[in-house]
């Protein structure tokens, strides 16, 4: 059991607002961890800090034994930390295919190939292949700005993971995706991650999704971790659920 990622005493505040209060979290290789919490609990901030977009005010991020606190995202990405976004971050003026081609040429192809022609048949073919594996290749030639939200989410995740990262951070992967598609999406993702031994950490608001697909759940409230255990244990704890959802467990609609 090796530690892939360790957050030690991570604190972050924005002016007077304290986003995270001293988070200690360890993720082991191969885990699929769900992070739950109310809005403002500090979930996305934590992901931003781990992936290098924000620098914590105190604390450390240790990835594969090395201190990577404050290392910018572009370097962390090459070291194996990938991240998808709550609002998909895409090149909206290019087609889905071009988005994928750009992702591949930057993440997978060697840096020396950067001066090669972009409109390359082989690169396009590889990109189409990746899109097909996520089931979105029928939108390949559509400009991303016009593509449905669920497809944008998938494209975002596909671009993030195309270089087979060691750790994937997913920010609300099923938000904006219709209820029939949510499970299909998570199923696909978890299958890929398990097959490639990718460790995944995902933020989710949909409790059913979290319960079904994560081996471990971390609950955040007001910037600190209030529960960190197997999914069943966390969901059995009425106090935790109340603080997350604001309702006592018996009152929750199923």
């Amino acid at each position: 059991m090796t530690d892939l990622l360790a957050c030690v005493g991570v604190q972050k505040h924005f002016g007077d607002f304290v986003a995270t209060k001293g988070i200690d979290l360890t993720i082991d290789c191969g885990e699929i961890v769900g992070i739950i919490g109310a809005n403002g609990a500090g979930k996305t901030t934590l992901l931003n800090i781990i992936s290098g977009y924000l620098r914590p005010d105190a604390g450390k991020i240790i990835f594969q034994g090395a201190d990577v606190t404050g290392t910018p995202p572009r370097i962390l990405v090459r070291r194996g930390i990938a991240r998808s976004f709550q609002i998909p971050q895409l090149f909206t003026r290019s087609t889905a295919l071009q988005n994928m081609m750009l992702a591949l040429s930057l993440l997978v192809e060697p840096t020396s190939s950067i001066m090669q022609t972009f409109e390359d048949a082989r690169l396009a073919g590889d990109a189409r292949h990746v899109l097909a594996s996520y089931g979105i290749d029928q939108h390949a030639d559509m400009v991303v700005g016009l593509v449905p939200q669920g497809v944008r989410k998938l494209l975002d995740i596909a671009m993030a993971t195309c270089a087979h990262p060691k750790l994937v951070l997913l920010d609300e992967p099923t938000s904006g995706v219709s209820s029939e598609e949510k499970h299909g999406l998570m199923q696909r993702l978890v299958e890929r991650f398990t097959a490639a031994s990718t460790t995944a950490v995902f933020i989710e608001h949909d409790m059913d999704i979290v319960r079904q697909y994560s081996s471990r759940v971390v609950a955040l409230c007001d910037g600190e971790i209030i529960a960190d255990a197997s999914a069943d244990d966390v969901f059995a704890d009425a106090g935790v659920i109340q603080r997350i959802t604001g309702q006592p467990k018996s009152a929750r609609a199923t």
Binding site: V77, I114, Q116, T117, F118
Partner: protein, 327 residues
């Protein structure tokens, strides 16, 4: 369909350069002169176009135009260097070096900040140049006759050689710029305007990319300035004045950004228009220029080059429709 296709833009550049070189002796002298100015400005405009791909509008390319031109003039004056190729290369190196240094600072900025900072830097240099006699003050400097790898032609032959040198230098730069723009790095440039965060999360430093593009644009403007100086055999501080940079912007606006060939066409059109208009309407032609810019901005913001794209597209669609019917 995976036959390797010839890059028609490169073919076109080479063919046109060949044609012009061979016809050089038959082209009237004044047209050669106008063309050389047009080519010089076109190179600087290509630099503007490169930066515009990333959404950055530089009002300061005049600075590098100035540096390239003055490198030629100063080498000529203080070191008696007359070789066309050597002076252009040194001009390019000077401009590139300054652009690389400035890039450290400027690559942090976007939008209006980028535009106005480039403008301010260029104007500072203009101010210095008009005051220092080293730069010949506001009168500028003259450049002696050129030589070509030791060969010193005279009279008509000199003009023709100078013209051919200008053509091939421009062609080389054009090809280089095209390779840059069609490459993956070129696509990254385009993506910068779209979503910088995504690029950073794909492992690419946006700052470094802009730095590279800025240096490349600087080199192109430097070569352009050197060629302009050689054509006119004179340089003056107005090269660094921001309205010179404005001309380069106008060229890109006029011709659109479809390909590297566009600024060449646009620059040539502008030079011809300028020559005729300032002769026929000396007081009103600038007004007409500004009004034309406004018209293009309002009605054809993708430039006249886009008209060509639209026409080509219309033909393609007709051809496809015919294919479907004939199947």
């Amino acid at each position: 369909m995976s036959r390797p296709r010839a890059d028609w833009t490169i073919v076109a550049i080479v063919v046109i350069a060949l044609a012009l070189s061979l016809a050089a002796a038959f082209i009237p002298g004044w047209i050669r002169y106008v063309s050389q100015n047009a080519l010089a400005a076109a190179l600087a405009s290509i630099g503007v176009m490169i930066l515009l791909r990333a959404g950055l509008l530089s009002f300061g390319q005049g600075l590098f135009y100035f540096l390239g031109a003055y490198a030629v003039a100063l080498l000529n004056k203080h070191f008696a260097v007359t070789d066309a190729a050597v002076t252009v290369m040194i001009g390019a190196v000077c401009a590139g070096a300054v652009a690389s240094v400035l890039g450290f600072f400027i690559a942090s900025y976007r939008g209006i900040f980028f535009s106005m900072l480039t403008l301010a830097i260029s104007m500072v240099v203009y101010g210095i140049a008009t005051k220092l006699s080293f730069f010949g003050g506001s009168d500028g400097l003259n450049i002696g006759t050129l030589s070509f790898f030791g060969y010193r032609p005279r009279g008509a032959e000199l003009q023709i050689m100078s013209f051919r040198f200008c053509i091939w230098t421009s062609a080389l730069c054009g090809v280089g710029a095209h390779i840059f723009l069609r490459s993956r790095l070129g696509k990254v440039l385009e993506a910068i305007e779209d979503n910088e965060i995504r690029l950073e999360y794909l492992g690419r430093s946006v700052r470094d990319t802009i730095h590279i593009a800025y240096a490349a644009a600087g080199v192109l403007a430097g070569i352009g300035g050197a060629l302009a100086g050689q054509a006119a055999r004179h340089v003056d501080p107005s090269f660094a004045y921001w309205t010179t940079a404005g001309d380069f912007i106008f060229v890109v606006l006029l011709s659109g950004q479809a390909s590297v060939l566009s600024p060449f066409a646009g620059s040539f059109t502008l030079e011809v228009l300028r020559t005729f208009a300032s002769a026929l309407f000396p007081n009103e032609w600038q007004l007409a220029l500004g009004a034309t810019m406004l018209a293009i901005v309002l009605f054809l913001p993708s430039g006249l080059g886009h008209l060509v794209v639209l026409i080509v597209r219309a033909f393609k669609r007709r051809a496809e429709a015919r294919e479907v019917i004939e199947q």
